[in-house]
Symmetry: none
Subunit: 350 residues, 2 copies
């Protein structure tokens, strides 16, 4: 199996991430987007041109836009294989059935990877590594299934075959319900004193992280999957009603917390998250211009490669905690180097 | 101010973390717990004995156990200063008023730090670094307030003065409500096929992380703060009811997601002020040592203040995208400067 030239229709987070990953594997990539700013950024990030015929077209558009591009792409590349990456699968199958694209040349797929930030600027080549990537092969030609399987393997995904309707019920539970609950919780923060938010800790940040997600994307997903979502939301409503009724009863509250522990424990450890093994080095810096430059100069002097970083500021405080993610050996090297130069380095964490 | 010998009543996560942090600063520590296993582990971790008189007693017991230890500790150490670290403050004040401990010798405090795992084995000396630590000084003697302030500073916390009743309302919103919502969501995972959970991603993991918290601890906190929590839960119930009613209406769903974004954005990123409106400048850089240093040197040369930043790249890839958060004017200035120096700067986003 070879993949010489892939066209990706849609330069958002998923499309651009696939493009980055393919380019890193020396596969030719053509990005396309109706938004020229997004396409320009994706082109600049990816740079893997090819003059070979397009063998695979990946639809990475919003759900609602899919049916507007199916016919045109099929007419432009009649011999290609077609897949999509939408979060909802049954509706996509219906869209394809009412298009010129023969259903046997199309495979519905769904990489279970994403971020709360969207757009080409948030793309990363390793977005799919170790993540489930669902396919619904019923009715697709075997060469179509093989090419999609090859793509998923190339990108480090973990292929799971699942019927489209069951897929939609599963993602309602593990993806769409958490999104709505996070948004519902975050909406409550619009009440309350602004100073109260200064007390926010990791719990609030984690539970509301995905509430920052794009409303245009999600309104489509939620509305398209309302049938699977409604019974889940009603079960939640019932549990919330019970909690309000019995909030002063310690046993009832404990039962809810315990049930939550049980649900949480059902999330398996494997296939989750990306297989990165960074060491995290916390450094307390003065929060003023020039400090970051000075720190990164030290990184350059020590010849270490910073893989990722995070800055945490405390309310009203003029120092900041920066956490650098490095390989274990680079973390040791940098820690030693920074300590010798008088920086406030804390013990690394894995 | 000196702190020669501190007694910590309660060898859980917070008590043991305080003990570890004090021992690291060469302060004598005596741990006490009715659970001998917990006390043994804490003693083994801390090992910082002292024969000096106990100058400070820290109550780090569960909320319900506090009133059973107040009298005994006061009688044993009548000249000491007393503080607690409970998650609820008003109930603690009431407990102290009905004890032998003079209220002026006691300061209610609350370090806003914790983990979803509890117990002495999860303790960390750096648990409080950069975290808010609330005090309610009304009615306490000045030497009591001074000693608590000294302790908080020694442990790296950031002291915030707040009335106990207002504290309880604030933590209901930013801590207790997220806990209950996370538990309610995680409880829904007890339904559904086990194989569906294989599809779980970072969104589900993050939103349910704190659902793994201890039910014994939380049932006390929730019941003790039910008055502040009930109106919040009812507002959530109303929003959930509206969502169920209008789930097929894309505009209603988009409004909810947007309100969630607004709530999420109120969580401050820096200095406890309102979340600022940054301008985000995407820059494509070569992914090799020295590039970040060179970029921040340019920032220093252009005299701009980088408020936050994110790196998006993946190991094995030779370009990376760095996004700098700056004020709008700094973003314009830096964009111009970098373009003139040959950097690959893309259009800023707000």
């Amino acid at each position: 199996m070879t993949l010489s030239h892939v066209k990706i229709v849609g330069s958002g987070l998923i499309g651009t991430s696939i493009g980055l990953a393919l380019a890193a594997k020396n596969v030719g990539v053509t990005m396309h987007d109706v938004d020229l700013r997004a396409q320009g950024l994706a082109d600049d990030l990816i740079k893997s041109p090819s003059t070979a015929p397009v063998g695979l077209v990946i639809f990475a558009t919003p759900i609602g836009a899919l049916k507007t591009v199916l016919d045109g792409e099929f007419e432009a590349h009649p011999k290609a294989v077609f897949i999509d990456i939408s979060s909802i699968k049954y509706k996509v199958k219906v869209d394809v059935l009412s298009s010129k694209l023969p259903p046997s040349r199309f495979l519905p797929t769904h990489p279970m990877a994403g971020r709360e930030v969207g757009g080409a600027e948030s793309a990363r080549a390793d977005l799919f590594v170790g993540r489930p990537w669902i396919t619904d092969s019923a009715g697709a030609d075997s060469d179509v299934v093989e090419m999609a399987a090859y793509l998923i393997e190339l990108l480090g995904g973990h292929r799971i075959e699942l019927d489209s309707l069951e897929h939609d019920r599963a993602v309602a539970l593990v993806s769409h319900l958490p999104q709505l609950v996070s948004s519902l919780l975050a909406k409550q923060l619009t009440g309350g004193e602004a100073s109260w938010l200064d007390l926010a800790g990791a719990g609030l940040r984690d539970t509301t992280r995905i509430a920052a997600s794009d409303s245009t994307l999600w309104r489509e997903i939620i509305a398209a999957n309302s049938q699977a979502l409604t019974p889940l939301l009603k079960a939640l409503q019932s549990d919330l009603g019970n909690l309000i009724e019995s909030i002063e009863d310690e046993k009832s509250v404990a039962d809810l917390i315990t049930a939550g522990q049980e649900g949480r424990a059902r999330i398996p450890g494997k296939h989750g998250g990306k297989a990165r093994e960074y060491t995290y080095l916390p450094i307390v810096i003065e929060d003023k211009p020039g400090q970051l430059a000075a720190l990164f100069e030290e990184c350059a002097t020590a010849s270490v490669n910073v893989e990722d970083l995070a800055i945490e500021h405390s309310p009203g405080q003029f120092t900041g905690l920066i956490t650098l993610a490095l390989s274990e050996s680079d973390a040791m090297k940098l820690s030693e180097h920074l300590k010798n130069s008088g920086w406030s380095v804390h013990s690394p964490k894995n």
